[in-house]
């Protein structure tokens, strides 16, 4: 199948999947508890409760509610967040920018660590460094992130006092404009070194914690891809020709091994997306994850479901892009069954 047809087929299926996800998400809000629980208080009389229900359209049949909700989403109305006391669409972009910044930083950490560790291990297959590296990488995937984050905080924030908490120092943050919502980029745009350093300084610990977790995924893939590459004929040929091991490794094998590693970017992204929830709670990072955790605890289902829908769509898109890129890179892959 042509690459173009493959892309088209995936794009056509995409809306169906999104609708499917929206139905699942909507069903969840109507299945358990009260979707408007967050707007109630223990002092309300039943008639007042009914008033609030009518205000949010809950007195209508379920499928009508779904269509209303779907229509709202398409028009950009994502409902009202009881937790943030403001419309979801007002708050979402700010929180998203904060989370993206963290996720990208963590992704960079994961890429660097993962590729380095994976190469290191793959080149020394089944020897001691390989095993140790493997345990280090797998540890990252086995760590309860919230626990690891708390430990790091205690050491670096509470005891040593060298790491900050939160995303920024409020005064420095207020001193520059925020066109993009990404603190680091905004600082560069404003030409403020203080602000840039403030941004990076606050990013370090959370990005390390989150990134370490994702390292295993990349390291694992990089290692096995490298191992496979090193078994290829051209490697033997290159060695026979007398090329230094290092060059064989770095210039040829590793570069080729990077190709299948692309496939785990989707997985890594998914991991990072989910990891932000607990990391943001611990480091008081004002992003989507913490907002969602609050929504869960306060029972603000409307906000939670918007988040689920959004992350699913994002997840789908990223995976689609990754699959297409990979298919483009490696024409040996059968495009579709």
């Amino acid at each position: 199948m042509q690459l173009r047809d493959y892309i088209l087929r995936r794009l056509l299926v995409l809306p169906i999947l999104i609708i499917g996800v929206s139905i699942v998400v909507f069903t969840l809000t109507r299945v358990g508890g009260s979707p408007i629980g967050i707007y109630l208080s223990h002092e309300m009389t039943p008639s007042e409760v009914a008033e609030i229900q009518a205000r949010f359209g809950l007195d209508q049949p379920v499928w009508v509610q779904y269509l209303q909700w779907a229509k709202g989403i398409l028009q950009g109305d994502f409902g009202y967040s009881g937790v943030a006391a403001a419309p979801v669409s007002d708050i979402f972009p700010l929180k998203l920018a904060a989370t993206m910044e963290l996720a990208v930083a963590a992704g960079c950490v994961a890429l660097f660590l993962g590729i380095t560790l994976g190469t290191f291990a793959g080149a020394r297959r089944n020897k001691l460094p390989d095993h140790i590296t493997r345990i280090v990488a797998v540890s990252g995937a086995s760590l309860p992130q919230f626990w690891f984050g708390i430990l790091l905080l205690i050491v670096f924030w509470a005891q040593l006092g060298i790491a900050p908490i939160g995303r920024s120092d409020a005064t420095i943050f207020a001193s520059i404009a925020h066109p993009t919502g990404l603190y680091t980029i905004d600082a560069i745009l404003a030409g403020s070194l203080t602000a840039f350093w403030d941004a990076v300084w606050h990013l370090i610990l959370p990005a390390l914690t989150l990134g370490y977790g994702a390292t295993a995924i990349i390291a694992r893939m990089m290692r096995s891809a490298l191992v496979e590459e090193l078994q290829q004929d051209y490697v033997d040929a290159a060695r026979a020709k007398g090329l230094a091991e290092k060059i064989v490794l770095k210039r040829h094998a590793r570069r080729n091994a990077l190709v299948p590693t692309v496939t785990v970017i989707g997985l890594t992204f998914g991991f990072l997306l989910q990891g932000t929830i607990t990391i943001e709670i611990i480091y008081r990072w004002p992003g989507l994850g913490r907002w969602m955790a609050d929504s869960v605890l306060r029972g603000d289902q409307g906000t939670l479901m918007t988040y689920v829908l959004f992350t699913s769509v994002l997840f789908l898109l990223v995976n689609l892009i990754v699959d297409v890129v990979y298919a483009n890179l490696d024409r040996r892959v059968t495009l579709g069954k």
Binding site: V24, L28, S142, P144, Q274, I277, I281, L297, T311
Partner: protein, 308 residues
């Protein structure tokens, strides 16, 4: 050449050989497994924790009336490790951390067995049906699977648990609802792939029933990727479950590692590290063990397997 008929074709002989081949392969895998030091570390850890779970009532006396409730001594709150009677200290509610660590292994074992067990069964059935029946049944089932896979695991489990309400059972349900799709996908792929194999064709030619073929030829061969996934999931499930507990979706006061970390973290900042460090460490070791073994299993079986 004599005609091959029902009577002179020895099905059992063929199946016998197939069985012997499989046994040889099995021991080969076992050998490769144990030769890998990291995997051995994992196996040892698993054995230790299983022992902890099984012998819990002998290691520390069960709490009455409910062994899975933390024993609370309101007069001995926030004691540090080394306090007589509370080796690993007590929590903010006077719960014995040591008790929580030991009995938490039971809870984790239950959690992972229930979830992985049920999802393996459900996923296998649905995946097999999709693969065997094919046609529009396959399309519909796989679309549903795709939809479920579009939602990131933790977030999906979070949403379900949030809706069902905080309880241990609900976490099991939420996790099961999220994970079964992986097995469905694996089984379906396996079924389709093996369906096309020669010996299956041979079996069909000689008139073996579809069910028989499925049970004796397809299923055993599909075991491999499912086992790898199940091993990894045994660890993963406890990790996600602990995260859900940390966010606050589990029951208060039960002897479960995730709940203990969550309840114990209020006080970490003031130097009371023990109430959440020890249970957190256990979660880590549990997940590490199963991840190491799962990884090793995957390598030992077939480096080309694509699992998720």
């Amino acid at each position: 050449m004599s005609e091959i008929t029902d009577s002179n074709f020895d099905k059992t002989a063929v199946r016998d050989t197939a069985f012997r081949v499989r046994m040889r392969r099995f021991f080969g895998v076992l050998q490769r497994l144990t030769s890998n030091p990291t995997t051995v570390v994992g196996l040892v850890l698993i054995a230790l924790m299983l022992a902890m779970a099984i012998f819990a009532p002998w290691i520390t006396e069960a709490n009455t009336p409910d062994a899975y409730q933390m024993p609370r001594d309101w007069g001995a709150v926030r004691k540090p490790p080394g306090t007589p009677g509370h080796w690993l200290g007590t929590t903010n509610e006077g719960g014995d951390v040591f008790y929580g660590v030991i009995w938490g292994s039971r809870t984790s074992l239950q959690l992972s067995l229930y979830v992985v067990g049920s999802t393996m069964v459900i996923g296998t059935i649905i995946g097999s049906v999709a693969g065997l029946v094919g046609g529009w049944v396959d399309e519909v089932l796989m679309r549903i699977v795709d939809v479920f896979l579009s939602i990131p695991e933790l977030i999906f489990a979070l949403a379900i648990a949030a809706v069902l309400g905080p309880s241990f059972t609900n976490i099991i349900i939420a996790l099961a609802m999220v994970i079964w799709v992986k097995y469905a996908r694996i089984m379906r792929a396996q079924v389709i792939q093996i369906k096309q194999n020669d010996y299956v064709d041979a079996a069909r030619v000689i008139g073996d029933s579809k069910l028989n073929i499925y049970l004796k030829d397809i299923l055993p061969n599909a075991v491999t990727p499912v086992t790898v996934q199940a091993t990894l999931d045994m660890g993963n499930v406890v990790l996600i479950g602990a995260t859900l507990s940390f966010i606050g979706l589990s029951e208060a006061g039960i002897a479960e590692w995730g709940v203990l970390v969550s309840e114990g973290q209020a006080g970490i900042a003031s130097g009371r590290w023990w109430a959440s460090t020890f249970p957190g460490l256990m979660i880590f070791l549990w997940a590490l063990a199963f991840n190491l073994v799962g990884d090793g299993l995957r390598d030992a079986l077939d480096p080309r397997i694509e699992g998720r």
